[in-house]
Amino acid sequence: MMHDILVLGGGPAGMAAATLAAGRGARVALVDEQPAPGGQVYRAPAPGLDPPADADRREGDRLRAALAESGATVFPGHLVWDLGGGPLVAAGVPDAPFRIQALGDAPRTLTGRALILAGGTSERIIPFPGWTLPGVMGLAAATILLKAEAMLPGRAPLLAGAGPLLYAVAAKLIGAGVRPVAVVDLAGHGEWLAALPALAARPDLLARGAAWRAMLMMARVPVLAAHRLVAAEGTHGVTHALVQPLAGGAVRRFAVDCICVGHGLVPATEGSRAYRARHAFDAARGGWVAAADPSGRTSVAKLYVAGDGAGVRGAAAAPASGRIAALAALADLGLGEDAAALATATADQARAARTGAAMARMMALRPGLVAAIPPETIICRCEGVTRAAIDAAVEAGAREVNQLKHFTRCFMGPCQGRLCGEAAAELVASQVGGREAAGLPTGRVPLRPVPMAALLGDFAYADIPVPPPAPL
């Protein structure tokens, strides 16, 4: 069956986009990797687990309920690995409907006249010595453990990095009865003060932030502003964290059983890159994003981006962003225009995005952190590529990230650059004059590692076409 609109990603942007479009009679399918829609901020608890509902859980349940009633077909637990159709057709052939392949309970192919990409973000972790030790994980991973599994990342965790996630995780840990060993924040007090006016646009968030800080003070958690995590130590797992002021000075050593570290969020662009949409680098939105008009229209006809995947603006701004993209898709497909709904969604998004933009700036990549990585530190864990190897490749002529792939295999392991890409690209950028010059990796399918059986499908040996032999 041909859908009007396919939505990739079941976070707040994707859920709201599918809900609006299906509610207006369009044939909509939403595909998401998780067992239930929700994305990361509104992630649903594991089956059989019933933690007490907090504000995020209630908002997630509200979005999920609206999606369920909208008439959209939802494919949870489906890993999208192949993108086709659209502009990806032979030269001279008109654009085809979008065609995606996903692996769920069974292989599935979906087609749609329009495609909304709402892939969210992945967490940026800038490598440091010892970051491969078991017990070192992302801050976002800690929120997933706490939210979806009601589980602690450790009994003596140290939190390090940048942005509001540091304090969100710290508060959740304290609420669960565990005191973080320390919170190590790259931002100085001045940066948080500078963000206050934007936070004041959302009193609810400001109050939540103030409550988090109060919890930390009452629990006497050391909050080290303008500090960075220098190294993790341990033999079989992490046992100590080394921390130093950004300005230099004495290194402090904390005994830990776990380090949760995150240096901001990076928009997921694999879909828009695979369709060869135009992209632009904007550090304040998380890095490379698909170039799009205010309604999320990319440079590819009937391909839209929404939510944090279109540029980091936070979960609160995401549903309005999804509704805007859905309204654009409906209009472009000739399924109706609604200027009033567009104006409302645009105003909603602008209000929430102001706070989100301030937070996104706090989470922007800090080049000094990459410059400080020691040469022998592993950058690419999949292929075992060190900083020294990347520097040597750049020196030898890899002036762009796609060339770096050929020189070092960085970006070419199973994570496809999701874990190492930011540091690797920044190392290239530092030598070639910036991230624009360093480029972004060409989008390729499969988008994720998939079993060979998924690529081959079912066939009999006799079905294999044998081309006639070339004339001698």
């Binding site: 990797e33 067992p35 990361q40 594991a46 089956p47 059989g48 687990l49 019933d50 933690p51 007490p52 890993l79 992945s122 967490e123 972790i125 491969t132 030790l133 078991p134 017990g135 070192v136 994980m137 992302g138 976002a140 991973a141 997933i144 453990l145 706490l146 979806a148 599994e149 009601a150 589980m151 602690l152 990342p153 450790g154 009994r155 003596a156 304290i174 009865g177 565990v178 005191r179 009452m218 629990a219 006497r220 033999t235 079989h236 797992g237 059983d257 592993i378 864990r381 999949c382 292929e383 075992g384 590529v385 392991g413 199973p414 994570c415 999701r418 874990l419 994720r448 590692p449 079993p451």
Partner: protein
Amino acid sequence: MLPLDATPVSGPQGQRVKRTGRAGFGAGARYAQAVADTLRIPGIQRAPLVGFSFAGQAVRAPLGENLAAALMAGGIRHLGEGPGGARAAVCLAGACQQCLVRIEGRIVQACRERVRDGLAVAPA
């Protein structure tokens, strides 16, 4: 005010937990001893416990729990060896590919699997 109790005394539902004293995969056995069953936040209703195994080591976890989380709670963080060193779950969101394990011959991401009774998990 907020106790930081590193000494495990009770399981997820408050019952005493029998310790087997077996090492985890590779090393980190002491860590496994110290954290086993203390990471699940108490006082929250969970699915009934079932048994599964990692590299032959028995682990108990609530049915349907995220496999990567269940391994962590069982004291098993070291999931295998990679070119960059030990492999352990980093993102829990399907991106990092560091939590790869083998189930029924297939290489899968532990963070995208759920605990089932009798599940046999091997290092990838």
